[in-house]
Amino acid sequence: MFQKQQRWAEMGIFKKHVIINAEQEGLKTLVMPTGVKDVITFAGSFLGGSLFSPETNRKIAPITAAMMDKGTLAKDKYTISDILESVGAELNFSNTRHHVQFTGHCLKDDLEIVIQLLAEQLRTPAFPDEELTTLKTRMVGNLERSKEDTKQQAMISFLRSLYPQNHPNHRLTIDETINHVKSVKKHELKRFHEKYYGLGNLIFVAAGDVDPIKINETLGNQLNGWGEKKISFNFKGLKARLNKENETKIEIPEKTSMDMYLGQAVGIDRDHPDYYPLMMAIYILGGNFSARLMQTVRDQQGLTYGIGSSLAGVSFGSDGYWSTWGTFAPDLLDVGKNATMEQILNWYNTGVTQEELKAKKTTITGSYKVSMDSTGGLTAQILSNAEKGRNVEYLDQYPDTIRRLTLDQVNGVIKNYIDPNKLTFVAAGTFTDK
């Protein structure tokens, strides 16, 4: 349906092709028909993620979401699964820090059936006792297994060093999470569902071989009368701990590769004017294979299979963090850390070059286009943008936002937000220096 063109995103393709319907109170749909045949990918969300759990038990929200496919008042989970699987459709529920999310795909002729089920599952979950017991057993098993995951352990420890307990970027230890899972009660889930699940801030996105009129009619019929929830949040007041030099080693026996995290809190969120310059500076350090860290620590020195650097934890008002992650053989950890630090110090002291900035601008704008190769990619982009409260035009304007960044802006923020003398370092695996 699109003509070949050099600057696709800049032609206002989202504004032109995404059909928005916000007529129904508390529901916004964004539908993008594409040239793909027969298939539809959809996704949606509303506020009710893990941060909305009571402080006494952070797993109430995730387990509520996980119970959405375990049966409704009218249908048990096998009946639901049978309906979906009989047409080859998929429908999954999950939980982010802020949102309850659902994703799915189906053939175009089956969309109505799938939306009917989606609405029924969200509106009238049954929370069967035996399903909750089994789910908790499985979750505990997965958590026990994750104790031997070197990356997971290092990441949890890193974020716990950076953020206090009430901060959105804080993480529970695995044992704390296991205790929360074990103590969740059915009545807590029902109460949470009652409070947060409903219209109000519900977003529904679909892309593919989809008819916007039909989808809006179906959604309107199925969600009509669902209670509207007035939910808001503000995490802007919550701050990271003060950065300081900090080192943690987590021993996990008989591992042949170690995971390392290195970084610090940066104190700004995605809406801050310095966000994009800082994101670009960090991308030049370690955003992809041709960035500095992979080109030196991996490609030249051969010390690691993977190393990268990113800016994260910045959504919805959270003050985010910069982290560098890498894997090393146990006997190469110190050498690897030093090689990484050498690159970080060089980046901090001398900044990035005009050539690097120019190259990474085309990388980011080009990969933005490539990420829309499938209906899954399109749906994810549109939903993520809408969740942040942005107009769809923002997606069209994004490439120009990146192109406008100047060298002075990018180098300026490195000095303002990074302090290489106050880095948190965490490594997990089997240490050779015991």
């Binding site: 699109f2 070949k4 050099q6 696709w8 594409t34 040239g35 793909v36 045949k37 298939v39 989970k77 096998y78 699964s81 049978d82 979906l84 699987e85 009989s86 047409v87 080859g88 795909h105 189906c106 053939l107 017991t133 499985r138 505990v140 098993g141 026990e144 297994r145 031997e148 070197t150 695995i174 593919g208 996990i252 026996p253 008989e254 042949t256 590769s257 992809n288 294979f289 041709s290 080109q295 030249q300 020195q301 051969g302 299979y305 894997t327 053989a329 190469l332 190259a359 990474k360 085309t362 980011i364 080009g366 990969s367 933005y368 286009k369 490539v370 190769d373 499938s374 209906t375 899954g376």
Partner: protein, 452 residues
């Protein structure tokens, strides 16, 4: 840059018959299936697959070499994969010295770029904004015959690959999977995993890798695939221009003739390491991917393990015996494996779950599957086939695996074959293959350690 200058000349060479849009200068049309057309570049035997699709302004270019870890032997296991890594270290026109390093050239335009190695094939691919398709073609053509493969590049890359191996060894599943294949296959090179044995990764010489490259990296041992937003005549002209400079190999591409002897009894393997929870894997040998029984196996796998209505979900996961399960039966060029992995919950013992898996197999051998089960599995397959057309990379990726097993139309005709499978076919293959004598069972047993 050289490749840009060349493009101007290419425009003049486009030739297309007004009466037949399958006639292009330098190419022989071979066949079409499912909208995909196959051509042969006449000068050197390169196979080319094309599918125009203008849904999004993106194109995928992929070169699949018909060589994988099945072409390796003792002393140089993992060489196909190590060579794949070295292929990014530079070639005649694309290298750091000229300021045209492969990763930089492609990532600077936002391309998704990578390569993968597996049992039967090695593929290099670029997903690019469609206006940059020529750059991807130029790079792949250049490194097909002019890769540097220098010893000073192998030294640091060996430790990179070794860390990839070490990362895999961190995972109980990866370790158990390697052990099950190594136990099930004793003579055939599927015995070793694609990453290879650690000592071979560390010690294989650069000369051995170069020999491997000069044996297998030829246009007549490769398939180039272009999917997405491009003009077919222009794209084929580019292929002709860039790949057309190569000759076909002087020697025949050597075949792999080792056959796995008949398995004459059940085999077992146990891996004990520090860990938290156990894993059970139950595997049975399957026929080669292009065998007609493959389709029945694909449906049987869904009946046993896909979705909450599947048999194993009800009998294992739903009873809290496992956190999850994974079943795979990848069609391969030679025989494969139908394997069920069960990730146990903390208080579940291995034998209980192994018994349930074998009992379910027996039920199918004795009683077959129901019409409802096969109908559901076919519907699931129909949807997954439709989604394998969602995006240029999805199509190229699915084609890549079909090319690997020896016939790209396996992808385009897959659903037609699936439709013909009956409940009797499924019971027949279960009876024939899911028998104790052909089984290989593996347990990952954690040595209990307390970790918080």
């Amino acid at each position: 840059m050289e490749w840009r200058r060349k493009f101007l000349k290419v425009q003049l060479q486009i030739y297309m018959s007004p009466k037949n849009n399958k006639i292009f200068h330098g190419f022989k049309f071979v066949k079409s299936s499912g909208g995909i057309e196959e051509y042969t570049l006449q000068k050197n035997g390169l196979t080319v697959l094309v599918l125009e699709d203008h849904s999004t302004p993106v194109a995928t270019f992929m070169v699949t070499y018909h060589v994988g870890s099945r072409n390796e032997a003792i002393g140089y296991t993992g060489s196909t994969h190590l060579l794949e890594h070295l292929m990014f270290k530079g070639s005649r026109n694309f290298n750091k010295e000229k300021g045209t390093a492969i990763w930089t050239e492609l990532q600077n335009i936002g391309a998704q770029i990578n390569a993968t190695t597996w049992n039967d094939r090695t593929n290099y691919f670029e997903v690019v904004p469609s206006e940059h398709l020529e750059r991807a073609i130029a790079i792949e053509a250049d490194r097909m015959r002019f890769a540097f493969l220098r010893d000073e590049d192998r030294q640091p890359e060996m430790t990179v690959v070794r860390n990839e191996y070490e990362r895999g060894e961190n995972s109980p599943f990866d370790v158990l999977d390697k052990n099950i294949w190594a136990t099930a296959y004793q003579a055939h090179p599927y015995h070793h995993s694609t990453i290879g044995w650690r000592s071979d990764i560390e010690n294989v010489s650069t000369e051995r890798l170069q020999e491997f490259y000069h044996t297998y990296y030829w246009p007549n041992n490769a398939t180039a695939t272009i999917i997405g937003d491009f003009n077919k005549a222009e794209a084929l002209a580019l292929i002709n221009n860039y790949f057309g400079e190569h000759n076909a190999s002087k020697n025949d591409i050597p075949g792999m003739y080792t056959e796995e002897p008949e398995q004459e009894g059940p085999r077992r393997t146990v891996v004990k390491r520090a860990g938290q929870t156990g894993v059970v894997g139950v595997g049975h040998k399957t026929p080669e991917g292009l065998h007609e029984d493959t389709y029945a196996f694909q449906l049987l796998g869904k009946i046993l393990s896909e979705g909450k209505t599947s048999r194993f979900y009800k009998t294992i996961v739903d009873r809290g015996l496992a956190t999850s399960l994974l079943m795979y039966d990848f069609p391969l060029k030679d025989n494969g494996m139908f394997i069920t992995y069960t990730f146990l919950t903390p208080d579940t013992d291995h034998q209980t779950v192994e018994d349930i898996v074998l009992e379910e197999y027996k039920k199918i051998i004795n009683g077959g599957v129901t019409k409802e089960e096969i109908a559901r599995a076919k519907a699931q397959t129909r949807a997954s086939v439709a989604f394998s057309r969602d995006g240029s990379y999805a199509v190229a990726s699915a084609l890549n695996e079909a090319i690997a097993i020896g016939d790209w139309t396996f992808y385009t005709t897959f659903m037609d074959h699936i439709k013909k499978v009956s409940t009797k076919d499924i019971q027949r293959v279960a009876k024939k293959y899911l028998v104790e004598e052909k089984s290989t069972t593996g347990w990952f047993v954690p040595k209990t350690t307390k970790m918080g």
